[in-house]
Symmetry: C2
């Protein structure tokens, strides 16, 4: 059992900002991240709407800057996976695969994870043509044909990034129009390398050693067609990392955590921040703002609970 | 009458971030700022808790970066003072001293303004020893004795900055302990130039051509005393810039705007963001987060209202 005043679950912009604020408030703080500090933005090639960076900044870079800033405030950062939360009179117990952390307060900032398309071939060809991150794997597809599954901001951002490398980028979207913001749509439509397969879902990913193509199902006509492709970038959305929180804090129907405006959940001393929250716009700046607010609220809770 | 889709009132971090998001969403947007783009942070010498700047950034610099980023998105920025808001079926009318702007949606991001101590001599000696901004006027007080009125984060931050210039910095605070965060308190107590006058309020500011001292009233003992000083830096707090909004949108008792988590006020199409909001922690990162959320909410409102 390790003791601290505050445990922050998640090391994306929300968690790291909470860490910056908690560290400056001189709270003994442990931040636990499962995968990579910086969180999901790490996979974003160019972030143009985080205020303060008019030339844009890569997700990887802003993540590293925030990590450096949080570490400079003296908080402890641990790489481990949180598997449970127990609320007891003597404190909140945050359980990981190898340890239990006890703290007065907890900030849940574990974000979301990518949705899979769950088509035959997806798992089989992951790393052999199926990928989830243009920044990481984009350069592998130089002069190759790539399909991108999805129609939201993230999908179009990733697809536009892929045009730097790929010979063609085909958006496969289940509707007849994109959900992405207008500015991204305009860019996508203006990009000569970009093609669109509307009203379509991926029925199967084909290949031998590597991906060779995708079988599409048109949801309007019912017809099946095939596109040759060397790469399949899946960008269809997210689910909140809240499975272990069911029955412990109030969640909405989609599993996002319900908070008040000070980021408090229904459990005293348990706060949530960032993409994991109900009503989050899932942007770096809003996640960071949430994290700051949650840390201030947690500091007040801890001071008052003394 | 000037027409647009969105009017943003205020050009601090909340308003500028809303501008970045609105511009990227291709909304025809006018941002109206009364005084200085960047808002109150412009007066902050070193901002250490805005995520992404581990070495810190001056308030002036971050304001300029955000302004550049917002302008790059093609929004119009106007310097004028907003004096009224009228909600009509044909749109929201934002009135300034010289113009009326009509838009589908409005984001109120006008922030707060400094409180005055309202002691005899304050107005008379403003600019002649009484000042409100260490960054702007600090260098004028090299090797001089300065008093700082206040005990919160802003006051202590400004006071610490003044120690770079002044021979002594005396904090005058009406309570027996500071309200500032612990990290700031630790720094203040460790700084040899810093002195403290507890339980005290400024009864009068004295001087001839320039400030020569302050008369203090001890609120516990009832006694009066005098401190010699060449400068008086007033840093006692803020009031929200919402006078013209009374009876138009719901305000809390202190005049801050009440919103939901998507920054919507009780009036459809009218949103609020930043320090002007009830429950804001009045930090740059939370104001910016609010601004992003308000712009996304305003975009949805405008799209749906078509």
């Amino acid at each position: 059992m390790k003791e601290s005043q505050l445990v922050i679950v998640g090391g994306g912009p929300a968690g790291l900002t909470a860490g910056i604020y908690a560290g400056r408030a001189r709270l003994a703080t442990v931040l636990i991240e499962r995968e990579i500090l910086g969180g999901q933005i790490t996979y974003t090639p160019l972030l143009e709407n985080y205020p303060g960076f008019p030339e844009g900044v890569s997700g990887n870079q802003i993540g590293q800057l925030m990590e450096k800033q949080a570490r400079a405030q003296g908080i402890a950062i641990v790489l481990d996976e949180v598997t449970g939360l127990e609320v007891r009179p003597e404190g909140k117990l945050v359980k990981t695969t190898g340890e239990t952390y006890r703290a007065r307060a907890v900030i849940l900032a574990g974000g979301c994870r990518r949705l899979l398309i769950n088509a035959p071939g997806e798992k089989e060809f992951t790393g052999r043509g199926v990928f989830y991150c243009a920044t990481c794997d984009g350069p592998l597809y130089r002069n190759k044909a790539v399909v991108v599954v999805g129609g939201g901001d993230a999908a179009i951002t990733e697809a536009l990034h892929m045009t730097r490398f790929a010979s063609s980028v085909t958006i496969i979207h289940r509707r007849s129009q994109l959900r992405a913001s207008k500015v991204l749509q305009e860019r996508a439509f203006a990009e000569p390398k970009m093609k669109f397969a509307w009203d379509s879902v991926v029925k199967e990913i084909k290949g031998d050693k590597m991906v060779t193509g995708v079988v599409l199902h048109n949801v309007v006509t019912g017809q099946t067609s095939q596109i040759e492709a060397d790469g399949v970038l899946v960008a269809i959305g997210h689910v909140p990392n809240t499975e272990y929180l069911k029955g412990i804090v109030n969640l909405d129907e989609a599993g996002y955590i319900i908070t008040d405006q000070m980021m408090a959940t229904n459990v005293a001393g348990v706060f949530a921040a960032g993409d994991i929250r109900h009503d989050s716009i899932r942007q770096v700046v809003s996640a960071a703002g949430d994290g700051g607010t949650a840390a201030v609220a947690a500091e007040r809770y801890i001071s008052e609970a003394k």
